[in-house]
Symmetry: C2
Subunit: 375 residues, 2 copies
Amino acid sequence: MNRQALPSPGTPIAQVDTPALVIDLDAMQRNLAAMALYASERRMRLRPHAKMHKSATIAKLQIEAGAVGVCVQKLSEAEALAALGVADIFISNEIVDPAKLDRFAVLAGQIRLALAVDSALGVERLASALKARGAHADVFVEIDVGQGRCGVAPTAAGQLAHLVVSHGLHFAGLQAYHGKAQHLRNAAEREAALRHAVALVRAAQAGITRAGIACPLVTGAGTGSFVHETESGLYAELQCGSYLFMDRDYADNEPTPRAPRFEHALFVKSQVMSRGASHAVVDAGHKSHAIDSGLPAVWQRELEFANGGDEHGVLRPRGDQGVAALPELGETIWLVPGHCDPTVNLHDHYVVVRGGLADGVVEAVWPVDTRGHVT
Amino acid sequence: MNRQALPSPGTPIAQVDTPALVIDLDAMQRNLAAMALYASERRMRLRPHAKMHKSATIAKLQIEAGAVGVCVQKLSEAEALAALGVADIFISNEIVDPAKLDRFAVLAGQIRLALAVDSALGVERLASALKARGAHADVFVEIDVGQGRCGVAPTAAGQLAHLVVSHGLHFAGLQAYHGKAQHLRNAAEREAALRHAVALVRAAQAGITRAGIACPLVTGAGTGSFVHETESGLYAELQCGSYLFMDRDYADNEPTPRAPRFEHALFVKSQVMSRGASHAVVDAGHKSHAIDSGLPAVWQRELEFANGGDEHGVLRPRGDQGVAALPELGETIWLVPGHCDPTVNLHDHYVVVRGGLADGVVEAVWPVDTRGHVT
């Protein structure tokens, strides 16, 4: 219903209407290659999180570059990506609703599909749903390694793995993701948090062994911590997502030693639509970028972004230049989102640009295929 | 692409998949009627803000109940609502981009359309665009009455109104909205902020009179403050939006004396998908509800909602019950969003329920027509 036409390939980026969600394709491809190389050199499986980019096009680029498949958080994401040709998906999350588990079982009959469990009820209902549809899936026991959200205590992993096996399900390993650790600013603190997580994984593995069960795989890790999971010797699969776009929040972290460097590749193009004596206002607010991990950074300008509400951002000068740093009415301002995942989820399309933000041209428009797929 | 079918009319709300954005239609209709009555009894024009509900269906219900039209913040919202039959729209915001102003002029040839201006450049470009299309529009001069965002200083209103008139445009009055005042918790503080705003409006009007121009209308006001604008004797049009759904944030305000009482009418239906010893986890995170005005409240349960990330919410007991208050796996939990506008913008559809949240049935599914219309 939005009658504004999407930009055609070849359109100069300067002519793209604002606000727009823009991928710097050159930067994204360098990030894609850097992570693929990191994983392959260390013989780690890479299963990037598609909850971040929500795009079948990007998922396929990752798989072409060596990823074994993708993760998602929601069944509706898996259904949509599968319909678009992504054939190996891990829902790294729990489902306990019987109607949803029936849909899961249908999908499991069509692609290679996996799910996390953290309750006896979840295991029982999953087993019933798969049996009713004659389908198979990989089942990961999720353990809480410090996030304080889903997952059983590591000491309970053996018992739950046993329940998985005793229901005739395929126990595929441990889901052990420490989301909170990703955002610790200090590299030593992140390393300490992951050392603790790895100890918990080891304890869970011991419990599974005591239950007489083999643990085929430990999967987890995010962009803020994957070096530690890789070097633990326990994890064999990385779920990093944000490396591809690098939001402001990850870039604010003290770099992890031995990690590849990733560049910002996702931007919101905005425009100054009001100009006061001491501030300017752009046409992008928190309906254009998520603010759960803080406000966007203004790209390569001496400007501070202040929250102007749903549809506005207020820019104020910082540094020595004073108000001379303020942009003029109509000027383009590039924003680096604080958090990529929920920012992407606000938009229906990516405008994909080749040749840089200043002089680049639109190479493609990619749909955000699983935008709003929260069920 | 989300293959999950939308619920059909008659479906018990208990069977609706989660997370879902749900309107309690009985409560919404009471809110709709209460505001319509308030405005009509005081001979105030009501032009509700459709940036909140983003729905042509709801805009038409408001107009049927007496509203003169709606406000929006973005041209693409106006284009979409106009295409769906909403024929009187005020874009209560500035546009300075020439390509966008040309689209504005095209739309102005089709419906009654208005725009705010706060710069000479904006006036000049608007005049050129309308002239090129042979179209007419209402032009409001926006003044800053305390928001610190868009709008000229009240002392500059006369000069800008003069520029509007001298370009052959129709000067329709003053846009004077104080967004920040809406969220002051204390009723006396809100009243003081609005007293200041009203004084600034009076100063702006005096400047316009001195410029020899009539000021036909002052428009503004939100759900947190409209009693004061109404009682000022200066405002003749109210732009309230949130009254219809009443988010958690407005309900947290100390009530304004002489204001009608509005009820919560917008909810996110969620479900417990993980359960620990001291907490439960629901399947709704900040991809299902906006958190710019704080976290959602848990409806009619002794539970505190903690941020669990994009796709999760963590529930902890509060009050005397302790962990006995925690819900079981699979239980439905109703969330009252902190801020309606950006919460609605996350969803493609409203599930509209008649008969209450406990036992109600789906009466309709309404599209969120201008979801993601940020341009």
